[in-house]
């Protein structure tokens, strides 16, 4: 932007001026760089900002999928918002979403840390095998994971057979618990990898120093391991939250939000409103609520993940 000039009072001259410009610590912003960034900005605007703005607008209209309002529709102001406020299904869905995300976060963190710390002590071949299996579960498409979990947790499924309760339909009895478990199962691989990398970065001599000081295993974990893992854990928490919020496929395959509204997380309810009940505008509004939630998590994530100055 600005090129620094030599401070006044020093021997100024064309030579010194030129030398000064070669300094590598000068401000190197150039307006021409904006031109090079235009395509990326353009894509962002066309594919992200405009649709987002349109969705916000749609949420405040009376557009439907079929019927008269699908042709003649218009801005209805805060009407949809007040409907949202009184919609008990929406509030249920919000709670279910919270439970689903909260349970997933706790599960993914605990299971990820547990597996990572076990693998730290494992033999190399074991580390590769277990790591591979867990990563496969993470890479598995939500549809496949959902089908597998559906088959294992319904009546006569693997889970019931294994624990001797063949006639119980677990998915029906504890739907939110089971879908949350399925979500944890599919995301633990990722958290194990990330937490494992962070664990390996903790200097072993610091742990040994604490042992020499007679710190118990719990004290070592509390005072040294946990604080050093904190940034990683926060990143895992926020990413889990974001990915769970978007995990439409898993629940749609397993329960389609049921029974009742027991597993009806916001993305499902939004889809339901828009395409089952044909209330496109209202569905968009629920989608906007999700965007808001995701933005909160996203901002937190960027703040935590960004290098501190």
């Amino acid at each position: 932007m600005t090129v620094m000039t030599s401070p006044e009072g020093t021997v100024a001259g064309p030579d010194l001026e030129r030398l000064w410009k070669t300094r590598r610590d000068r401000d190197r912003f150039q307006w021409s760089s904006l031109a090079l960034m235009t395509p990326a900005f353009g894509l962002l605007i066309i594919l992200f900002l405009i649709p987002m703005g349109y969705a916000v607008y749609l949420g405040l209209t009376n557009l439907t999928l079929v019927g008269p309002d699908s042709v003649k529709w218009g801005f209805t102001g805060l009407q949809n918002l007040s409907r949202l406020r009184q919609d008990s299904t929406f509030w249920t869905s919000l709670w279910v979403t919270g439970g689903f995300i909260g349970g997933s976060i706790v599960g993914v963190l605990v299971a990820g840390y547990w597996l990572a710390s076990l693998l730290m002590r494992a033999r190399p071949w074991m580390r590769i095998v277990v790591g591979g299996v867990v990563v496969v579960s993470w890479m598995m498409p939500a549809v496949t994971a959902g089908m597998t979990w559906y088959a294992s947790t319904t009546q006569g499924g693997a889970l019931g057979t294994l624990i001797g309760m063949r006639n119980t339909n677990f998915l029906d009895s504890w739907p939110l618990v089971i879908v949350t478990l399925a979500n944890i199962w599919s995301m633990t691989g990722f958290s194990m990898l990330v937490i494992g990398a962070a664990l390996r970065n903790i200097p072993s001599e610091a742990i040994e120093a604490a042992m020499v000081e007679n710190a118990s295993a719990w004290q070592r974990f509390r005072s040294i391991v946990l604080p050093l893992l904190r940034p990683t854990m926060i990143a895992v928490v926020l990413l889990t939250a974001l990915l769970s919020l978007a995990n439409f496929g898993l629940i749609y395959i397993m329960t389609q939000g049921g029974p009742g509204n027991a597993t009806n997380i916001l993305p499902l309810y939004s889809y339901q409103q828009a395409f089952s009940f044909n209330n496109l505008a209202y569905g968009a509004l629920i989608g906007n609520v999700m965007v808001l939630l995701a933005t909160v998590f996203g901002v937190l994530y960027v703040r935590v993940a960004a290098p501190r100055s």
């Binding site: 200097p203 001599e205 120093a209 000081e213 710190a215 604080p227 050093l228």
Partner: protein
């Protein structure tokens, strides 16, 4: 006050012995240095003493207490790690306070003690900083302070100076010695690969190689009476010349033939020769300090003609690699005039300072015997430990 005792300690890693049959007695209050090239088992020995590794065989005692199976935290030791091992998430104050806190020591006196230690180590102005914001020397001091807070029976240090630059290393070395003099009740075990550090700091020095303890002695004795070729070469810089020679006895006199000359070493070997040594080939050790341009005075070997190959100026002296016949030796040359490459110099060695080793076992053929009559030895040492 407690001493330390290793009794027949072995450590095996995947079938090979990293430490073999270590027997070592450390007196209470002593400063002992374990020294040796990397992989000699010195750090493993220290870690076994700290309780961070378990010996495969043998017992370890601190004072009269068998600590072989005592968890590391209950051994009443402090340890300074090579990497300092500061807790990266805590500031200096909390690093120092961590130990007392986990041991539930009274909080009332904690502040005062931290201040005292911080003052001793001149880190008082750093108490609020995190380790990342400290220089190497400052981190080293904090690590030291953390170990001092405990007022332990035994103070263990694992190459604490190896990550510092040369100037800081010399300064911290002096400070550690001063510290030890202040805390005379504490037994110190110090691991290093640097023989200069070992000689300057240790009351006694234990030399290890390939997991075997070769010799434990004071710096002076180690220098004057190396028990084997390895110790002779490892202690002292530049390292000892080891040459093929022949020992012969005739009547009361004993001569050694080396570098093409025959020198009378009767006085050197008198009363010190190990039993069963007969005439024949031996290894002769001559320190570069004892090999110098011939002056013709008594006690010197006959002149050896040699050519200067490479000379190295070390400040006070010039050491040169010289060629004489088939051998290459390092000798001490005068600083002025500086000898040129290819220049011929007549060398002689001090017959009273030769070391004799068995050709097969590489062990010394000389007992320590009566105290050496050499008068210049301390001067040599002081040059070593510059």
């Amino acid at each position: 006050m407690s001493g330390i005792r290793f009794e027949g300690v072995w450590k095996l890693f995947e079938g090979s012995a990293v430490v073999s049959d270590l027997n070592l007695d450390v007196r209470a209050g002593e400063f002992i240095v374990l020294v040796g090239p990397s992989g000699c088992g010195k750090t493993t020995s220290l870690r076994m003493l700290a309780g961070l590794e378990r010996p495969s065989h043998g017992r370890i005692f601190i004072g009269d207490r068998d600590v072989t199976d005592v968890p590391t935290g209950e051994r009443d030791i402090s340890m300074v790690f090579q990497s300092y091992a500061l807790y990266p998430n805590m500031n200096v104050y909390r690093n120092l306070a961590f130990g007392p806190r986990v041991r539930k020591e009274p909080r009332a006196t904690l502040d005062a003690r931290i201040n005292e230690v911080a003052e001793l180590l001149q880190i008082k102005h750093l108490l609020k900083r995190t380790p990342a914001a400290l220089s190497g020397g400052q981190r080293q001091r904090v690590a030291l302070g953390r170990a001092l807070i405990r007022e332990p029976q035994v103070f263990l240090m694992d190459e604490p100076l190896s990550n510092l630059d040369a100037a800081l290393r010399v300064q911290m070395r002096a400070e550690l010695i001063r510290l030890h003099q202040r805390l005379e009740k504490t037994t110190n075990v110090y691991v290093t690969h640097d023989q200069v550090e070992a000689l300057t700091m240790g009351d006694r020095v234990a030399v290890l190689k390939d997991g075997v303890l070769l010799q434990v002695d004071s710096a002076n004795d180690l220098y004057e009476h190396p028990s084997s070729v390895f110790v002779g070469e490892f202690i002292g810089s530049p390292k000892m010349n080891i040459l093929e020679g022949t020992l012969s006895f005739s009547g009361d006199s004993c001569t050694v033939e080396v570098l093409g000359v025959r020198a009378d070493v009767s006085e050197r070997v008198a009363g010190r020769l190990r039993e069963g040594v007969v005439s024949g080939p031996v290894l002769v050790g001559i320190r570069p300090h004892d090999l110098f341009p011939a002056t013709g005075s008594t006690g010197e070997s006959p002149a050896i003609s040699a050519t200067v190959d490479i000379s190295e100026h070390t400040g006070a002296e010039v050491f040169a690699t010289m060629e004489t016949g088939p051998s290459r030796v390092v000798a001490r040359l005068p600083r002025v005039p500086t000898p040129d490459r290819g220049e011929r110099v007549d060398l002689a060695f001090r017959a009273g300072a030769v070391h004799l080793f068995d050709r097969d076992t590489q062990l010394s053929l000389l007992d320590r015997g009566t105290p050496s009559r050499r008068t210049s030895a301390p001067a040599d040492i002081s040059q070593q430990v510059r």
